[in-house]
């Protein structure tokens, strides 16, 4: 058994360290888009249902869809930031800490990805109910919308922390 573990470790170490660093942007873009898509799916289906009888809520509630879309944009920002850094670091020949830096990028991408995915799901599920409450009583829209903005703020926090941790990696 220890033999097998040793073999695995050698195999893992034989992989170029830049690969692990590149997983960071991959996770960040895919998880962010998963969250955004989940959000739009939830909000969109409820919003379309609510629009059938109450057409005037349509334009206002597109903001909920935009908020979900913004989650995907956070993912894009984080990913572009990471990609440029990885390229720069991989070309640097005298970086003694390249291992640490690459794992830092992986952690940063994963953190932003999972954080934004949660924010996307939260905004999405809320968005549908914001549409319904708007259809019931239009004065409720702004009040419910603030709740949604706070859910969106979770994604911004994940993005900020992701970028700061990547910059200092």
């Amino acid at each position: 058994m220890p033999n097998l573990i040793d073999e695995c470790m050698t195999w893992i170490e034989s992989i170029d360290i830049v690969f692990w660093g590149s997983l960071g942007p991959a996770f960040s873009i895919s998880l962010c888009i998963l969250g955004a898509a989940w959000g739009i799916w939830s909000t969109g289906s409820t919003l379309i249902g609510a629009c059938i009888r109450k057409r005037e809520i349509w334009v206002k509630n597109l903001i909920s869809i935009l908020l979900c879309e913004a989650i995907a944009i956070y993912g894009v920002i984080e990913t572009i930031f990471l990609i440029t850094h990885i390229k720069y670091q991989a070309d640097e020949e005298y970086n003694l800490n390249i291992r640490r830096t690459m794992y830092g990028y992986l952690a940063s991408g994963l953190g932003t990805g999972i954080g934004c995915a949660s924010a996307g799901a939260a905004v999405g599920i809320l968005g549908g109910y914001v549409a319904i409450s708007d259809a019931w009583n239009r004065h409720l829209f702004i009040k419910c919308f603030i709740v949604e903005v706070f859910a969106e703020a979770i994604g911004v926090m994940a993005l900020i922390v992701g970028i700061v941790s990547a910059a200092s990696a």
Partner: protein, 365 residues
């Protein structure tokens, strides 16, 4: 007995699967007549006025072709409202996927049972089958409903018509309890109806247990209330008849807030006061009963009105719920209540009476 339908999705995936229909059903809440609509309807002088008033509401496209007719009957309004109800229900049904589809279908089985009984009863009294079918609730119509009028015994009825319908299983269970071979008479048909409803409610409870989660939590009180109402109705209606306690017990649903202790007390009572004593263990029913017995005119009617009021309040709460199927059931109940309300008003208007709307359970402010 229930076909495997799977469980109701949880918070994370509910909106993806049923968000569309939830949006549709919850915005139906805006379609309900508000209290100012009821006040305006109450001011009407005849049915034509009534139709003009309804034109200003969501019912406009269903009543507008009656606008210029004179000498209208209240049944015109009933038909128009029912048409809208059926259209809205069919829209939900057409767009639903499992398990919501099964749930929505279950909501109509009660009407199927009532229609079956209505036709058999009408045939026994020698009424015309075509007119009976017209009197049926449109949501409870099923294939072969016309053939019901040819049935003479319960077994006959089951073999020829009901075996293909969803309510066949309740019939099977109801018939095991007694009168499968008997010819149908006016007295045992009422027992049959109650027995069918009992098995239907118990089956509905099984379904929501299977759906589980929030749907179970929110639907349980509504179904419990329905079961209690049936139990109370059975005990009040059988006060002056020669039904034994055991027979009564067999008709009571084995569920509800009153079950089992309250049901036990209910079956043994033989006066209205006794029923009230059995109900005193549940606050809501106790209030309704006390308010009902103070009414000198007809206490059974006012108890029934009280029950409708409570039901409306519960259904309205159900409309507010999220991530479960309770809004669909709530919509169903509220729509039925609205039709009852408007018909009550329409009949008063038709007779030239003006009793005010304070007695009606208003659905929306």
């Amino acid at each position: 007995m229930v076909k495997k339908v799977g469980s109701c999705p949880s918070l994370a995936t509910y909106a993806n699967e049923f968000g569309f229909l939830e949006g549709v059903v919850k915005t139906h809440y805006n379609d309900f007549l508000s209290s100012s609509d009821y006040l305006a309807l109450n001011e009407c002088e005849n049915i034509s006025d009534f139709i003009v008033q309804l034109n200003g509401t969501r019912y406009c496209q269903y009543v507008q072709h009656h606008r210029d007719d004179a000498n209208l009957e209240p049944s015109v309004i009933h038909d128009a409202m029912m048409r809208k109800f059926v259209d809205d229900y069919n829209f939900l049904l057409d767009n639903a996927i499992e398990p919501l589809l099964t749930f929505l279908r279950f909501c109509t089985y009660g009407h199927m049972i009532d229609n079956t009984i209505l036709i058999i009863q009408g045939t026994l009294q020698g009424r015309e089958p075509a007119r009976l079918i017209k009197a049926c609730h449109p949501l409870g119509r099923f294939d072969g409903i016309g053939a019901l009028s040819t049935a003479r015994s319960a077994k006959d009825l089951y073999d020829r018509v009901l075996i293909d319908t969803p309510i066949a299983k309740y019939f099977e269970k109801a018939a095991i309890g007694g009168s499968a071979e008997d010819t149908l008479t006016d007295s045992n048909i009422e027992l049959l109806r109650n027995s069918l409803h009992k098995h239907y409610l118990e089956d509905f409870l099984e379904l929501i247990k299977e759906l589980g989660g929030d749907t179970y939590d929110e639907m349980k009180p509504l179904l419990d209330f329905e079961a209690d109402r049936r139990a109370i109705n059975i005990s009040i209606n059988s006060l002056n008849s020669d039904i034994t306690a055991e027979e009564r017990r067999a008709l009571m649903p084995r569920m509800g807030v009153l079950f089992p202790c309250g049901t036990d007390q209910l079956v043994n009572r033989d006066s209205l006061q006794g029923v009230g004593l059995a109900l005193s263990r549940v606050d809501e029913y106790h209030h309704i009963f006390v308010a009902g017995s103070e009414d000198d005119l007809d206490s059974t009617v006012s108890i029934e009105d009280g029950m409708y009021k409570l039901e409306t309040a519960m259904a309205r709460q159900a409309m507010y719920r999220g991530f479960c199927f309770a809004p669909f059931y709530g919509f169903f109940k509220l729509r039925e209540q609205e039709i009852r309300n408007v018909m009550w008003l329409a009949e008063r208007v038709h007779l030239g009476l003006n009793e005010g709307v304070s007695k009606l359970p208003i659905i929306r402010d």
